[in-house]
Amino acid sequence: MSFIPGHPVTAVVQRIEIHKLRDGDNLILGFSIGGGIDQDSSQNPFSEDKTDKGIYVTRVSKGGPAEVAGLRMGDKIMQVNGWDMTMVTHDQARKKLTKKNEDVVRLLVTRKSLENAIRQSMMQH
């Protein structure tokens, strides 16, 4: 997806509701994140635009809460519980996802495969 600062982002979004798993004192989500405005975005293998400083899902644990909820590696996280994730530091993103008093996080994500599928179906018309 193209992310040009200052231009509206047109993307297909998916809503993912993750129910955290309680493991003793911890609440587990079962995925890893990369990215953030304070990170080096050129290292991101999932973004189309290497200047995209958004938060991406770099790994999803097999059978974990995130996979069960439908999150996939490469997804870009746009929002967490209504909070914007497109302009946050890595640590800010981590915090929004790991609030101790929240059992459920609702993510808004965009996914390349979805985008490509839509683009292809549009091209056929």
């Binding site: 587990i28 079962g30 994140i33 530091t89 890595h90 996802l97």
Partner: protein, 351 residues
């Protein structure tokens, strides 16, 4: 002007001296040797009571909200011992001690309203849409003519005009004070303004009564929306699900008009308060430490990124939390932004 806390003491005194007088006059019929006059000691005591009003939570000062103090120190002083409860409460205090300092609030049944009002006047950056309305002074009249609502209103002080007129005055005062607060140019100026308001005088109570009025007005609007089938915030269903408050009238009669007198605010009423002021009230509830309700938002959709922070040990008495200088919030309660790094790191975090 009399202070309500002291007024309670005085009215019970005058009540008992009334009773004494009554007893005396009937006793006189029988005995004729009962002393009608109070002794010197009684008079002295009454004078002393007048000069040192009881302000349980706040010590010798007149202020309704004390100066900031360290949470850890306070916790260790107030909760000595090793009962399960003490340990839990101290744990709660410790969890937030690096982020906040404590300001103790006068401990009467107004404390939830008072703590919220204090935070509003010291932090709010703008008037809520509700108060922008230029017709604000018409509202008490409108509400009263609708269903005779104001007849039952209780004030904690004597009023010289009608209840409706007095509520108009309270609302105007709230609007003016809020505007004054927002327009303060420095923290010191704002703090001075707050100290002027929170002195336990009638002005403070007029503002608190104005808040109650706004809550009622909002409840009436929300109830009407509910009846029409429009979307309402979740807490409305809870507010009007109680047998004792199925509609705004009974909400007023059985709950709201007693706030400050014989009762405080229930949690669902805290949601109403936050909602009508367009603020989110963030409460650290110490007895809920180690549970998901340790920090609860009223209302819980937490729309406001800069909530008003309060603390309670028991959901009954509320104190104010102010950010510590070294914390992640600046002195206005706004989050401090970390400067972005030069982008050399590319870490992943497993959650």
């Amino acid at each position: 002007m009399q202070k309500p806390a002291q007024k309670e003491a005085k009215s019970s005194d005058s009540h008992s001296s009334q009773q004494d007088l009554m007893k005396t006059s009937s006793a006189e019929d029988e005995k004729g040797d009962v002393d009608l006059y109070r002794g010197e000691e009684e008079i002295q005591k009454e004078l002393q009571d007048k000069q040192q009003p009881k302000s349980a939570a706040v010590g010798e000062t007149q202020s309704s909200v004390s100066a900031a103090e360290d949470l850890q120190t306070y916790s260790e002083r107030e909760w000595k011992g090793n009962t399960a409860k003490s340990l839990l409460i101290r744990k709660g205090y410790e969890a937030i001690a690096s982020e906040f300092n404590l300001r103790r609030v006068r401990g009467d049944n107004y404390c939830a309203l008072r703590a919220t009002l204090f935070q509003v006047l010291s932090q709010s950056k703008q008037l809520p849409a509700l108060l922008h309305d230029s017709e604000i002074s018409e509202w008490p009249k409108e509400m009263h003519s609708d269903q005779d609502f104001i007849r039952e209103w209780q004030f904690p002080f004597e009023i010289s005009k009608s209840k409706v007129q007095h509520l108009e005055q309270c609302l105007e005062l709230l609007k003016n004070k809020w505007q004054e607060a927002v327009q303060c140019k420095s923290l010191e100026e704002r703090e001075r303004m707050c100290q002027q308001v929170f002195r336990g005088h009638d002005e403070e109570y007029e503002l608190l009564e104005a808040l109650k009025f706004l809550m009622l007005r909002t409840a009436i609007q929300l109830h009407s929306d509910m009846e029409k089938g429009s979307d309402v915030p979740e807490f409305c269903w809870l507010l009007f699900a109680r047998d004792s408050s199925k509609c705004p009238k009974t909400f007023l009669t059985n709950h709201l008009r007693h706030v400050g007198f014989s009762g405080g605010l229930e949690q669902v009423e805290m949601c109403l308060l936050g909602y009508c002021l367009q603020e989110t009230i963030q409460v650290v509830r110490l007895y809920k430490c180690d549970t998901e309700e340790f920090i609860t938002y009223y209302p819980n959709d937490h729309k406001n990124a800069s909530p008003l922070c309060l603390l309670t040990e028991d959901d009954r008495h509320y104190n104010v939390l102010v950010p510590k200088k070294s914390s992640k919030f600046d002195s206005y309660g706004r989050p401090k932004w970390n400067p972005p790094s030069d982008g050399q790191s590319s870490i992943t975090t497993h959650l």
